[in-house]
């Protein structure tokens, strides 16, 4: 294919959307997990102490490290399952946006404190 050419339908078949969908959904899940782990660490003393990976930073170190590890693990798993096929990417993207929106909402302290 010419380096100057624009994309085409055959190119989409050669480059299935699964890998992209895996990356998008994993990003949504990773973002949501930051909020979920932060709420758990705030509400449960045991989890708070377990999340204290690096004392000067406190539980934030564990919350973010666990979120990043889980994000990368989910990404790897989804990538292995989806990378060579086309998936219903519209629904995957919608789910990722909902998770991203929830991460913003649930990290806002007045809302996080409702739990």
């Amino acid at each position: 294919m010419s380096s100057q050419s624009t994309s085409s339908a055959p190119q989409a078949r050669l480059n299935p959307n699964g890998a992209g969908a895996a990356a998008v959904l994993a990003a949504g899940i990773g973002s949501f997990l930051v909020a979920a782990f932060a709420i758990l660490a705030d509400k449960a003393a045991l989890i708070k102490s377990l999340m204290n990976f690096y004392k000067p930073t406190g539980p934030l170190s564990g919350v973010t490290t666990c979120s990043i590890v889980a994000w990368l693990a989910v990404w790897l798993i989804l990538h292995r399952r989806w990378s060579w096929r086309n998936v219903e990417v519209g629904r995957v993207v919608a789910a990722a946006f909902i998770l991203l929106f929830l991460s913003f909402l649930l990290t806002f302290p007045p809302i996080a404190d409702l739990f």
Binding site: T6, Q11, A12, L100, F108, P109
Partner: protein, 190 residues
């Protein structure tokens, strides 16, 4: 003219990495929207795609540097606990803010939100950089993936704005300062 080591790190974190990321967002959004919105748009040169791939990767590096310096260099200074009997809380920003009802919310809402809402930023822009690198011009036909990349970059801009605003206001009300002093320029006395 002088500044402390902690002040310098705060500046590198906020005005260096963070502000640079914030400014870079607009460029990424314009390029992604303008060049990839339609399958019938003008041809895309290989060198333009290479540039955008490097640009998004550099943004991802900036985003990671911002959150890592924030969480592991500056935040420990911010949340340091003063020893018993400490008269001045100037070197303990979190305690200084919480010592007054007029400033406590800068910590309980501002810092509490900032320290968490910033983390989806590197996750989002890393995803955007990887998806763009993998699909490049075929994002024109993978419209949902293109929408996802644009949406996550928009979200990262919003989150960086929130974190940046509260970072600036926190530093205004209770600056992170201390450590060795760096002399920059010797001024003349009048």
């Amino acid at each position: 003219m002088e500044m402390t080591v902690r002040g310098l790190w705060t500046m590198i974190h906020g005005m260096g990495f963070g502000a640079l990321y914030l400014m870079a967002c607009s460029g990424a959004l314009v390029e992604l929207y303008r060049r990839y919105r339609s399958p019938l748009g003008p041809e895309i040169k290989v060198e333009d795609e290479r540039f955008l791939r490097i640009y998004l990767t550099a943004m991802a590096v900036l985003a990671w540097l911002t959150v890592l310096t924030g969480a592991y260099i500056i935040y420990p200074w911010y949340r340091a606990v003063p020893p018993p009997g400490t008269a001045s809380l100037a070197a303990f920003p979190q305690r200084l803010l919480m010592s007054s009802p007029t400033t406590a919310a800068w910590h309980s809402i501002g810092m509490e939100w900032k320290e968490h809402v910033a983390w989806p930023v590197p996750i989002s822009i890393t995803m955007a950089a990887v998806v763009f690198s993998q699909y490049r011009r075929s994002l024109r036909i993978h419209t949902e993936l293109r929408a996802a990349v644009l949406g996550f970059v928009w979200a990262s801009l919003l989150a960086t704005g929130i974190a940046g605003f509260f970072g600036a206001m926190l530093n205004k009300n209770a600056p992170v300062s201390g450590g060795a002093t760096i002399h920059i320029v010797q001024g003349e006395q009048k």
